[in-house]
């Protein structure tokens, strides 16, 4: 079978990739949201691996709730995104510098 290390390393690599994605992306909020989803996936992979390793169901329950909250978060995030697009005509991250009301 697979050692626990492999899953942990996979989670770390996934998290690192999505972290780099957040840094390099200055153009598109949608890709930013997708990077957040990837980060959650990495964290969930760690949770599932540890839950299986320790034979503790709490880890899997936690993944269940993370999935719920992530679905809610992305729904609200996309609604805000649509509003931003309606107001400004683009979703460029670099141009979002006018929060003075």
């Amino acid at each position: 079978m697979i050692p626990l290390n492999y899953y942990l390393i996979l989670g770390a690599i996934l998290f690192g990739i999505s972290f780099a994605g957040i840094i390099i992306n200055r153009k598109n909020i949608i890709v930013l949201l997708m990077c957040i989803e990837l980060m959650l996936l990495a964290v969930n992979t760690n949770f599932v691996a540890f839950a299986e390793y320790f034979q503790a169901g709490a880890g899997e329950i936690f993944v269940f709730f993370i999935l719920t909250v992530a679905a809610a978060e992305s729904a609200i995030g996309l609604a805000i995104l649509v509003l931003v697009y309606r107001k400004r005509g683009n979703i460029n991250v670099a141009e979002m510098n006018e929060l003075q009301g």
């Binding site: 153009k27 990837l38 996936l41 599932v48 329950i61």
Partner: protein, 202 residues
């Protein structure tokens, strides 16, 4: 014996990593969403490999079925100018790569077997008894974690209300709607008219 678990693990792990790299590097957001779907599918296979079948299926149903569809809808609804996406992409790339290498290097160094001899010694084991993963999860969810489960339901309700009230900009003019208040306030005198008339002769 053919190491089927290892082969499946490494194939799908490579697939996850490649797909997620394509998510952040692809210029076209539609393509990025599709690569993200691929990453979710591959990692659900990886979850299935360690007996988390229910969560793997939920990942596909909830993420690929609902959330990614939502992303695709939004990507296609917004008319994003792709030609302007190219600028300044490379500017932050060295910094991002540096951060990523440091971060992943630190974590991988911490996960090395000689740091965690206890963890690395035993591999992940399949559950011996006949209890399925779904049954186990359901038992926990509806006993120990019932309160949290209901909070999750409330969070979903809040999310529904929030996203509808954010995206709803009022009814379009000239659409036909029921006015419930007016309907309830209607009385017999408004609607019913009794006419006196002669009975018909046969």
């Amino acid at each position: 014996m053919f190491p089927v678990y290892q082969v499946v693990f490494f194939f799908f792990a490579a697939l996850v990593v490649a797909a997620s790299a394509m998510v952040i590097f692809s210029r076209n957001p539609v393509r990025a969403v599709l690569f993200l779907v691929l990453a979710f599918f591959a990692s659900s296979v990886l979850w299935m490999l360690i007996q988390a079948e229910f969560l793997a299926l939920v990942l596909i149903f909830v993420y690929v079925g609902a959330v990614m569809t939502l992303f695709l809808f939004v990507v296609m609804m917004l008319n994003i100018d792709l030609s302007r996406q190219q600028e300044k992409f490379v500017r932050f790339l060295p910094f991002a790569l540096l951060v990523m290498v440091v971060f992943v290097g630190t974590l991988v160094a911490a996960y090395l077997p000689h740091h965690l001899p206890d963890l690395a010694a035993t591999a992940l084991v399949p559950t011996a008894d006949g209890v399925s993963n779904t049954e186990q999860l359901g038992e926990l969810l509806f006993t120990n974690y019932l309160y949290e489960f209901e909070i999750a339901g409330a969070i979903l309700l809040v999310a529904i209300i929030a996203s509808i009230s954010l995206a709803f900009t009022g009814r379009k003019p000239n659409t036909k709607v029921q006015n419930i208040e007016k309907q309830h306030a209607a009385t017999k005198q408004d609607r019913l008219r009794i006419i006196k008339m002669q009975a018909e002769n046969k």
